[in-house]
Amino acid sequence: MMKGNKYAAYLFEVAWILPSVAIPISFLVAIVLTAFVVGIGVPGIGGRIDPKAISTTAPFDKPGVRELAPGRYEVVIIGERFLFTPKQIEVPVGSKVTFIMTSRDVIHGFKIEDSPINVLLVPGQISRVTATFAKPGEYLILCHEYCGPAHHIMAGKIIVK
């Protein structure tokens, strides 16, 4: 490209291309380690369900909190216009909680403040996500996927004691 000292020109190109490649690659390594070793994963395939049969299909026939073992909980939540059922849940501090959720009608969002839980509730799909709640407090749960005229009132709370 540039005439003149070919060696200097080559070094010059390396000076910016190398970090341009190396820095994003190191980000990717950090991300993969955090996801698969540290365990902050993303939602995957949780199975399908008929939204018309939610009330009679386990575990959605009994929404709420269930202790599986000391420090291990399962929370079943149904999202619909414009509320979460249940809208308030309590778990002990340090609990590892798996949320099993779906929607009865349209796509809703489900995000828990200050936690890695950020997932969509889709009619016909089961959302299965897990997080550990290491810090006590009250955390807002909100619907962040536009679901209709009262979307902005759709919220809940998780109390970590």
Binding site: W16, T34, V38, I40, A131, A134
Partner: protein, 56 residues
């Protein structure tokens, strides 16, 4: 078609083969940008880790 207004490479050869210094300003700006990118990225990465609920 008007040929007159398309400059042929023979006319442009002088310009294109002109010595241009390496764009050291672009290099500095690029490296500064990569630094900025790293800082912004780390900011969100650390927020993910801190709110990840990871038990020590």
């Amino acid at each position: 078609m008007q040929e007159a207004h398309i400059q042929h490479s023979t006319d442009e050869t002088d310009d294109e083969n002109e010595e241009h210094p390496q764009p050291r300003g672009a290099l500095v700006i690029m490296l500064s940008y990569l630094l900025l990118l790293t800082v912004l990225w780390l900011n969100v990465y650390l927020q993910m880790i801190n709110s990840g609920g990871i038990q020590p």
